[in-house]
Amino acid sequence: MQPLELSHYSDPLDLLRRFIKTPMKATYRFDGARLGVETNDCVLLPELPLDADITAPCALEWKLIRDADSPGLLEPPMFLTSATLTVVAMGTACLLALDHETRKLFAFIGTDIDALAFREYLVPFLCRMTKDALSGDPIGYFVSWNYDSAHV
């Protein structure tokens, strides 16, 4: 596998970093559905059961972007929920958004979030969002979110 490239991204015409490449891809079986994950950091590939059926469409997709210029540790989450989107800000260390209609979730994750924090905290969080999105109720749970309930 190629060594991970986590250098600082610099494109004066892409200040929002929309075009950071996420070449690592995997598909998983989650909650009876197919989950696609793509990322630019293999540490961010979750330890979930892999799905060998590469022909089937994904019920939901995660795009997890390791961002070398997003400093800091996770802060208490702030949720913005509407009929079409759930946006969660945990400081600059992790910003994520889930589009309920396109069923795409993307997240910018800072380099201070190590493998342990990702595995123990963010993956359960993302799984819970995914589960609720797949069940057709992506909003209700997070309105009354707390840390313990994130661990499913």
Partner: protein, 330 residues
Amino acid sequence: MINIVSLSFTFNSQTLPLRTDFYVAGVQCHLSTNSAEILQSVSRWQTPNVDNSSSFEMEIIVDCRLEAAVERPAYFRGNGHLVFGFLPPGSFISYDLLRKYVRAVLSTKAARDDSFWRSLLIPITIGILGTIVGVVPLHCACLEKNGNGLLISGDSGVGKSTLTAALTQRGFALISDDWTYFSKKQSALVAHGLFSPIKLLPDAVQFFRELGELTPAIFLNGELAYEVDPARFAGSTTKNTSRPSRIFFLERTSHPGCHFVPCPSASIRDFFEKSAERLPDELIDAKALRTSLIGTLSALPSWVLRTGESPQRTSEAIDHFILENKYATA
């Protein structure tokens, strides 16, 4: 056990009972909020300035708990049609470019702060959302004198803002400094400004001694700069819109004098295309609109203005050039 206090905001008609419309850069904004103060803040923009059918939704929740939020500089990220970020003081904003929605949670301090609206929230919103609603942001200044609109463009650091400030001192009305927002009305080009002040770097004090009375501040991009209100600085007026009829592409030279060299439209088109923000494939209509608008813009008479003079002397040269070449095309 981790002690975490989270904040949760739900955007719907129950949480956003107050509604009004306002207009910026010729675009109609349908605003929903929970704050009467927000209605007051946007009341200055309630007169439509351009007949434009484009609109977007803005939903704003004001919450005093955000006063305690960690102070951090502006920070934005995006993917596809979604953009979000922190905006000081204590605020967070998300943009949904496909559905034309802006949703924000603001601290009461931000909601009440006139400069937050004027210098941050509105320019950033139109900068991010504009191309989706028919208003294309391009990096240039726009001024007007005697009904003649002109655009000043050029590479970063070439002195566009100091020249803009000098032109306001010669009686040119300011539409915009750093960024101008373009739309088309019946195929004619309209340039919009957003009431933003002129931003001058500290070394501009060598040309404008009056800046010495002001205190520079740190801006979003981390630069230290003076924020200059043209009305106070030069007794100049500001305008919301103009119909630009000329482009001057500024270049610095070590040789004295100001020289106006006709500039081919292909060069203008190339400059604006290459300096425009990259847009994702989801926003293909926005890309097409921008290309079309840049095509119209590049058809304007244009000159490369090579100057080795001060901003004041250069502005004088522009003033004379316009008078002597009132009907000239490049």
